[in-house]
Amino acid sequence: MKRIQKLGMALMLCLGVVTATGTASAEPLYDKARGTAPLLETTKPPVLGNPINDDVRRTRNYAQQPPVIPHRIDGYQVDKNFNKCMDCHSRTKAEVSQAIPVSITHYQDRDGNTLAQISTRRYFCVQCHVGQDNATPFVRNTFQDVDSLLLKALQNPANASKKP
């Protein structure tokens, strides 16, 4: 019985040494957003960007993409009392504000009934629509939209026909 205990302890010690050396030799965690800061420590936040504010409409990357916001939205109040976005983007304000009114889908509830006011499920604009900033993405994106794929296929029909 004692021998078994001793054997067990020796084994655990061995395992401990192996794991210890294993972690020591491994590279420290590097995260694109956090850098090498350990998870339990607070990182130094990056400086604030300068949001795009030119009001030029951006191309959507795919048909279903919610249009991005080409202006500053700092400090916009969107809560149960007031929706700053709808202060300009509602149907009745289009003439004065020259902002694009939100589409009819935003007035529909999930059963497809069209409501008089914006639907609660569409109320919080920045859940889908986001402001823009000239920042370098943390993760490389290889997304290609359908038009560029079509163009590629047209330019190189041999390559395209190979694919099922």
Partner: protein, 218 residues
Amino acid sequence: MNWGTSMLQLLKRYWAVIRRPSVHFSLGFLTIGGFIAGILFWGAFNTAMEVTNTEKFCTGCHEMRDNVFAELKSTIHYTNRSGVRAICSDCHVPHNWTDKMARKMQASKEVWGKIFGTVDTPEKFDAKRLELAQHEWARLKANDSLECRNCHNYDSMDFTRQSQRAQNMHSTYLANKEKTCIDCHKGIAHQLPHIPPGLGPSDSPGQVVPAPVAMAKP
């Protein structure tokens, strides 16, 4: 009738006392002393008035500190890149003396509200917020946003340094005096209340359904 005559008698007596030349005090003492007392009174009065204009005084009560002052703190009128900021009285008390006196007299209602706890909980404050906001909107609308313009001078605005949207708005509605600052810039320093349909100020652009302009043209 009897009360009226006795009142008249009293006034006459006081009038006689005021008219009678002084027996004990010299003319010099009365004039110079009166002059100095006047300066002291006026100085004390204005100092006390200025104390009620300080941020410390305004945020001395929890109604202001926990509601409107807390909301102000995240806005550009409290924190910004250059550190120029506005305190409560910059926007809520007229700078002109007579207007300031009138506003301070109105503010006695606020003392009443403080004593009887009209807005002493966040719930009570929220229930009252629309009414309070409407008072301020009406005041700023009536004086052509004077308190905004005390700092934001239209003639010194460089439109080319503004965003396209701001340029469009300021060069039309503000330039032709159709709108004043508060019409569009409500809720820049404090959170807006829920404005039920029909209770919102109709002067704000787009608050009413615009008349069909294309139809009106011949």
